[in-house]
């Protein structure tokens, strides 16, 4: 466990040798020459508890505890209220119902498509825009704010607006004189969803990339420019490799987001027609067949299944993408 998950703490691959100069003059400290003073473990552990304890406690109380309760409900035919007892205990029936339901596996497939397309469509675009917006130029702040606008609007409103625009008799078809079933045609609807997702969440990717770019000292690109490197050479050979840790974190969040996608599908397609339109997702399936059908026990079981599937995907990502560069980067041995 600890090897795989520490992966996300990946340090930049390009090792930068920084030295510290005090006022008196340059005192270069090669990393190996420095001997860390012995500090006692009790104190270190106390620091860990003080710093991480409150967050862990809060997280256990408000995330993990409800999840465990949900796990309990998943073994019952529970309507959301009333007792759970021997009468409505159904064992693994809720799990069986889900795993043998072709509509669920259809939704899993859609999640897979969304996951891949999100990475392919949003990633390069966001990196490109972030690199461009990282330049010194006038009006940059305004441009950033405007690009971020879609991310700020709530999903519910995006749903209402997009629904009005994209209906068969909606604004877009009227404007273009078309009769495309943007939302209803199963061959089109998935691309409509991908366009909306890209539109909505591109701002998220860009802001993350921009933040990552700030950690890259400008002197690197300036020095390269002095050496005659072109703009794109600098981006490709210096900025992009140094941005890798950020890109990987974004990739992780994007993948998990794609696995959990619910809001936009629900507000645009509602409770019933997502399957026929070919845009149903696992989380949508969970809501439609769980809470919205008054079957909270079953909904909990679906949530557990989605959780396990997400975890597997996340672990694979950790192992194959995040973990590769960590060897060597995290050289410090465990102290205990």
């Amino acid at each position: 466990m600890s090897e795989t998950s520490s992966a996300a703490t990946a340090a930049p691959e390009v090792e930068l040798d920084w030295s510290i100069e005090s006022e008196g003059g340059s005192v270069v400290l090669p990393p190996s020459a420095y001997v860390r003073p012995r500090r006692n473990h009790v104190r270190r552990n106390l620091e860990i508890i003080i710093l991480a304890g409150p967050a862990i406690l809060l997280f256990l109380m408000f995330v993990i505890a409800p999840v465990i309760v949900a796990l309990y409900y998943s073994f019952y035919k529970w309507k959301g209220f009333g007792p759970t007892n021997a009468d409505n205990f159904v064992g693994l029936d809720n799990y069986k119902w889900t795993l043998t339901n072709p509509e669920f596996w259809g939704a899993v497939g859609h999640n897979g498509i969304i996951m891949v397309l999100s990475l392919v469509m949003q990633g390069p675009l966001a990196i490109l825009v972030a690199l461009l917006l990282n330049q010194k130029m006038r009006g940059r702040s305004l441009i950033r704010v405007l690009i971020f606008v879609p991310y700020v609007i709530s999903e519910a409103i995006v749903g209402i607006g997009m629904f009005l625009m994209l209906q068969d008799e909606g604004a877009l078809n009227k404007l273009l004189g078309l009769h495309v079933g943007w939302l209803s045609n199963p061959k089109v609807a998935m691309w409509t969803l991908m366009f909306i997702l890209t539109w909505k969440y591109l701002g998220f990717a860009i802001i993350l990339m921009l933040a990552g770019l700030q950690g890259i000292p400008e002197e690197l690109s300036e020095a390269a420019a002095v050496d005659g490197a072109t703009f794109w050479q600098i981006q490709w050979h210096i900025m992009l490799p140094l941005l890798k840790p950020t890109i990987k974190v974004w990739g992780f969040l994007s993948i998990i987001g794609a696995m959990q996608l619910f809001d936009l599908v629900y507000v645009i397609w509602g409770q019933y027609i997502a399957t026929t339109a070919g845009v149903s997702t696992m989380a949508w399936f969970m809501a439609a067949n769980g809470r919205l059908s008054g079957q909270l026990g079953r909904g909990s079981a679906i949530a557990i299944i989605v959780f396990i599937l997400s975890l597997v995907v996340a672990m694979i990502y950790q192992r194959w993408v995040l973990n590769r560069d960590t060897e060597g980067a995290l050289t410090e041995k465990e102290e205990d």
Partner: protein, 294 residues
């Protein structure tokens, strides 16, 4: 701590604040930016403009321009004739701000531990938080509500804030940890040489140096709280405590949904979040300013 500066041994570059407000960029950059902005804003403008129409106009001609313009939708929202816009805007604001502060404080502290301390439980703790991203809130909502009833918190702002903070921690920690890990080890070591404790290092070096990441997660959490619908819906019952998204929904009913008013309400509801973003966006840039110079 005496004055230090960070110098790259290979390039001789000094880590310092750099002026970021240069001149005009290449026209091509503006052109690309303009195209992206057009795509980003078109649906938003559609929403804002339709706030000036009424239901009937929208049904008859979905792609039309307001005819006549109906300023009443916006007027009704701002003057409080429908809904409690200002009250709800205030509720949304303070809930979002408290959430952001708590998430940032707890998130930075935990990320620091995960990034800079090496101990056995580290991987397990990271995995614990990461797993929080994979569980939908909608399943946890009933247990959460029962918990809030038992602790007499249901109906209070805390019943929204606390779960929101807890559910905001995973993303915050996953984004922040690499930022903190990326702070060169030598800076930490230099700090120790200067007699700084690890906690001292945390406050004097880590927090300022990780500002771009901190501001980023602050914005993400603010937006998340601002638009959050499910938690306030289930936790709050008193309309005077409602947040803006709940207020938006109050306009609509199964029997006649006031689409135009909803669009007007939302267009206005979007503004505070954008102000928050534009204020802090500048801080993402130049986060290194002054930090390293001590």
């Amino acid at each position: 701590m005496s004055k230090v500066k960070v110098v790259n041994k290979q390039t001789g570059a000094v880590l310092k604040a750099t002026p970021k407000d240069g001149g005009w960029g290449h026209p091509a950059i503006y052109f690309i930016a303009l195209c992206i902005i057009a795509v980003c804003l078109a649906p938003v403008l559609y929403i804002i403009v339709n706030g000036f129409r009424d239901n009937s106009q929208m049904t008859l001609n979905p792609s039309g321009w307001p005819n006549p313009w109906v300023p009443g939708n916006y007027g009704a929202v701002v003057t409080g004739r429908i809904g409690m816009f200002w009250r709800q805007a205030w509720n949304s604001t303070y809930i979002a701000l408290i959430t952001v502060v708590l998430v940032i404080v707890l998130g930075v502290m935990t990320s620091f531990v995960l990034a800079r301390y090496k101990f056995k439980m580290r991987g397990a703790i990271y995995l614990l938080f990461a797993s929080g991203l994979m569980f939908p809130l909608s399943v946890a909502i009933t247990p959460l509500y029962i918990m809030m009833i038992k602790t007499h918190l249901a109906g209070s702002a805390l019943s929204v804030i606390l779960p929101q903070v807890a559910f905001g921690l995973p993303q915050t920690i996953i984004i922040l940890t690499p930022f903190l890990a990326a702070i060169p080890m030598e800076i930490e070591e230099a700090a120790f040489v200067d007699g700084c404790s690890r906690l001292g290092f945390f406050f004097r070096m880590v927090v300022p140096l990780s500002m771009p990441g901190v501001i980023t997660v602050a914005i993400l959490n603010f937006v998340g709280s601002w638009n959050s619908y499910m938690l306030p819906l289930y936790m709050l019952t008193d309309e005077s405590q409602y947040t803006l998204p709940l207020g938006v929904q109050m306009f609509s009913s199964a029997h006649s949904q006031e689409t135009a008013q909803i669009l007007a309400f939302t267009s206005l509801a979007m503004i505070p979040a954008l102000i928050f973003f534009s204020l802090f966006e500048k801080k993402i840039v130049g986060g290194l300013t002054g930090a390293v110079k001590g």
